[in-house]
């Protein structure tokens, strides 16, 4: 039977990544991760360790649901989202979504910067990347874009 510290070291990355995916804020992801491991600490004697990391992820998911319920109350989210945008996407958008040269991280950085209009700092805060990483991914993607569209040279 593994100790708490061993279990923490074994599962913390998976739990953190999952937490980041449900909260999209690094500090909230750390809070959720911390809460999940505290719950594990409390229940260590009773828990079937073969259920990890699923047990931890379920705690994160439940806590994330609570967190989102509070956010919805505190912030007024638009409830009418446009289901489908205008039919004709510009060439840049088709390239962003379909280019085999882009990785998922490039697509997300490009979309957050040029579609959702975020600054690099805002992109970093929401994705958990550093600002330097965001800048690097954007530079790389823009180089590919320039090649693909043959402009700006």
């Amino acid at each position: 039977m593994a100790t708490f510290e061993e279990l923490y070291r074994q599962h913390v990355q998976a739990v953190f990544r999952f937490a980041l995916s449900v909260a999209a804020k690094r500090e909230v992801a750390e809070d959720l991760t911390s809460e999940a491991f505290l719950a594990l600490h409390r229940n260590l004697a009773a828990i079937d360790q073969s259920q990890l990391p699923g047990w931890l992820l379920t705690v994160v998911r439940n806590r994330a649901r609570d967190w989102w319920r509070r956010q919805i109350v505190e912030r007024r989210y638009a409830e009418q989202f446009v289901a489908a945008p205008e039919p004709e996407a510009p060439a840049v958008e088709r390239w962003l979504l379909d280019s085999a040269d882009l990785k998922q991280v490039h697509r997300v950085c490009l979309a957050l910067r040029y579609v959702q209009g975020m600054t690099r700092a805002e992109i970093a805060a929401r994705t958990g990347l550093t600002e330097i990483q965001v800048k690097g991914h954007l530079q790389y993607a823009l180089t590919l874009l320039r090649k693909a569209h043959g402009v700006g040279t």
């Binding site: 600490h41 649901r65 962003l96």
Partner: protein, 311 residues
């Protein structure tokens, strides 16, 4: 979030020269799309039901939002060694605080202080109130603290050993005994070695890089899926198993169905996972009643039916 062209740096202006109109058009098309954090939360099925439905419907209709909802994939950040240590120290501090016995009478001190503050505040309020002012009862807000829910039954998964199908072993005419000229096996080695050693991040990266080059190699997709399961990337695992299931190579058929159900359940698609287990159980009971895979699926199905959903 009001970045506009005027906040572009010199490099952006150069590289996006002559594309400004297209960028503007792209932004206009998605101006009413949900923000990134909502897309990610809907993808993980953690939003309140009505909002979950609205955002999920939007994601289904918009490839741009779908791209954002899927997140960073393999590039998702992890905690640095320092951050891991800091978080561990924080957890242990909280855990010790919870388990520390309180000193005799010490726990009453906050109660006395709190009572004192309430008494003084009440006195000040009563004294300062104008005569004849009507006193409305305060609006009460009842907050019910739910006890932490017990995690539901989760389909267990173990690390399957590395196996290779005949198609891989005989890739491009090579025989199982003579793999020297078998480029697929050469390319598979780094990924499968990392998988054997439990380095699932490397395994996933290596295997993902191969998936496009060897679209028919079911081993790549299967071990990619299992690696993602161990990384906690259940949606990614589900995608890999789906692709593996579409392969004409049936070497991993039974395992793919099982692990796909595991990935689906853990990524929140409980109904789909249950349907998949039912399919394994019903189909295989007829054909192979003593099969161990079937027994595993049928037993899991019973446990899944019996378990309560997580709150």
């Amino acid at each position: 979030m009001n970045t506009d062209r005027h906040d572009w740096d010199r490099e952006e202006r150069e590289r996006l020269a002559h594309l400004e109109d297209q960028i503007d058009a792209m932004r206009r098309r998605h101006v009413n799309a949900p923000p990134y954090e909502l897309l990610r939360a809907a993808h993980a099925d953690v939003l309140p039901p009505d909002l979950e439905t609205a955002v999920t419907e939007h994601i289904a209709a918009s490839p741009m939002s779908r791209t954002l909802a899927e997140g960073l994939g393999d590039e998702a950040p992890v905690l640095s060694a320092d951050e891991q240590e800091r978080l561990f120290a924080r957890i242990m501090k909280e855990a010790l605080k919870e388990s520390a016995p309180s000193t005799a009478w010490g726990w009453l001190r906050p109660a006395f202080i709190g009572a004192g503050i309430v008494a003084v505040a009440s006195l000040v309020w009563v004294v300062s109130r104008e005569p004849g002012e009507r006193i409305d009862p305060p609006e009460t807000q009842v907050v019910v603290a739910l006890p932490p829910a017990a995690p539901p039954f989760l389909l267990p998964f173990e690390k399957p050993d590395v196996r290779l199908g005949m198609a891989a072993l005989t890739w491009r005419g090579s025989t199982p005994a003579d793999t020297a000229g078998n480029q697929l096996l050469t390319d598979l080695k780094p990924g499968l070695d990392a998988y054997r050693q439990g380095d699932y991040a490397t395994a996933n990266r290596e295997l993902t890089a191969l998936a496009g080059r060897y679209p028919g190699a079911v081993e790549i997709l299967f071990y990619q899926g299992v690696s993602r399961l161990f990384l906690g990337d259940y949606a990614g695992a589900s995608t890999a198993f789906e692709a593996a299931g579409a392969s004409s190579d049936r070497t991993f058929e039974a395992d793919i169905a099982w692990y796909r159900a595991v990935a689906e359940q853990r990524s929140g698609n409980v109904v789909q996972a249950r349907a998949r287990l039912e399919a394994i159980c019903n189909r295989s009971v007829r054909l192979q009643p003593d099969n161990g895979d079937v027994a595993r699926a049928c037993t899991a199905l019973e446990q899944l039916r019996a378990s309560a959903n997580p709150r």
